[in-house]
Symmetry: C2
Subunit: 233 residues, 2 copies
DNA sequence: ACAAAAGTGTTGTCCATACACCCATGG
DNA sequence: CCATGGGTGTATGGACAACACTTTTGT
């Protein structure tokens, strides 16, 4: 390319670009976040989101995937860009611009040993410790965003195991929206969408009667996903 | 700060950070986008979004405001971060990461002379010329986003003049959603929200009878904005 | 007086909510 | 046999789409 162009670019500042991941999980205890204890400065020893820097010839999506894989061992994870935080003072070290992502992980799937090695731990969503920098803001924004988005796409499905019960699903939604739902109506709404396949199996962990297990019908879902509003109550 | 920390940061690449603005306007002809003809390389002479680079000690919001002010002369504009585009090849020059913003402008308010000087022009939304780099993607994402968001917040209000008629508002929504609405039902829905103040003035531009002008009741709106879904039909 | 946009009224349908009730089973 | 969570049925009210209708006024 022309020298003139190179010169044009070089007039402007360059910045470190970071990626931080808000990692959600869900189990009996409820909605959780995966956090790490930093083993490097600044703020060594404090809790933070898992993050890293954008690599050479890499895009942000791939950087987020790489970071997630390093921490959890998982490569196929629901991952979405959230927002870019750019306050010059957000990192006390220097002006680091950070793009936050959020991810959904099935807690049972992931590599506990790997996580251990990174000093990572799951925290219940309402028991998050103080976080470094603006990571608290990132978490809040992620929560706000999934609460909105979830109305159009059942992203929460990514948090449940392959086979789940209707009460499991209800519990997940009650966690996300911090609100109780009528089980009869919840069930009807969910069933009416026609994206769940009933299995001939029951889960008896939570009741004597046992609840039927369901699978998510992904084919049918991908046909419908642009046409309906999934969740509004 | 400690030298060790500085060293830690310095291990990583730095990047140029750009901001690009998807600027929406609305008038009789419909929904429009403000585009500029680049007067510098690369891609000189082609149409593009208005953009610029992140300045020293600046955050992205302020960079977007600065850029918007330079082009339109307006300082108080509805502006929101959209998404960060980071493909290493998106700019043929070098790896420039760009955060896109979208803005709403009242076409009549802004500085036509200033715009002229930048080689800027309004284009109807369905007559957008080919754009440089990934700007087409940015426009598409902006449209998708406002169509979603608008269901929760009447952001479209930012596009209308202070005083507007119900048919004006209907026309705006018909442009955004590319869909016709029943005027009786549209009116009822809008009125039922209780965020419009009726004025004792009519606009007779579009009919002999004339349509009453309304103002947006911002106080009442800010009370309600988190509680209701504004638009869903 | 009539065309055309502004604005009102009426009706049937759908669907979210509330809640009463039945089912299955381990203790 | 009963407590507990799973699951079904039904009645009610409110929201909305469809559409018939009235109002206003410049030509």
């Amino acid at each position: 390319m022309a020298t003139a162009t190179k010169k044009y670019y070089s007039l402007h500042n360059k910045y470190h670009l970071a990626v931080d991941c808000v990692i959600f999980g869900f189990d009996k205890q409820g909605l959780k976040l995966l956090l790490i204890q930093r083993n490097f400065e600044p703020e060594k020893g404090k809790w933070s989101l898992m993050g890293g820097f954008l690599g050479n010839q890499e895009n942000l999506d791939n950087a987020a995937k790489r970071i997630l894989k390093a921490l959890t061992g998982l490569s196929h994870v629901y991952l979405e860009q959230l927002y870019t935080f750019s306050d010059p003072q957000r990192d006390p070290g220097e002006h680091v611009v950070s793009t936050a992502y959020y991810a959904f992980i099935r807690i049972k799937d992931f590599d506990a040993e790997l996580t251990e090695r990174h000093g990572a731990r799951w925290f219940e969503i309402n028991k998050i410790p103080p976080l470094i920098f603006d990571h608290q803001k990132m978490v809040k924004k992620a929560l706000d965003t999934i609460r909105q988005k979830n109305r159009f796409l059942p992203i929460g499905i990514e948090l449940l195991p392959e086979k789940f019960t209707i009460p499991d699903l209800q519990h997940l939604y009650e966690e996300i929206y911090e609100k109780k739902y009528d089980n009869a109506n919840f069930r009807k709404k969910v069933m009416s969408m026609g994206i769940l396949k009933k299995l001939n199996e029951k889960n008896r962990e939570n009741s004597k009667k046992g609840a039927y297990l369901y699978e998510f019908d992904r084919t049918r879902f991908s046909i419908l996903k642009n046409d309906f509003m999934w969740f509004q109550m």
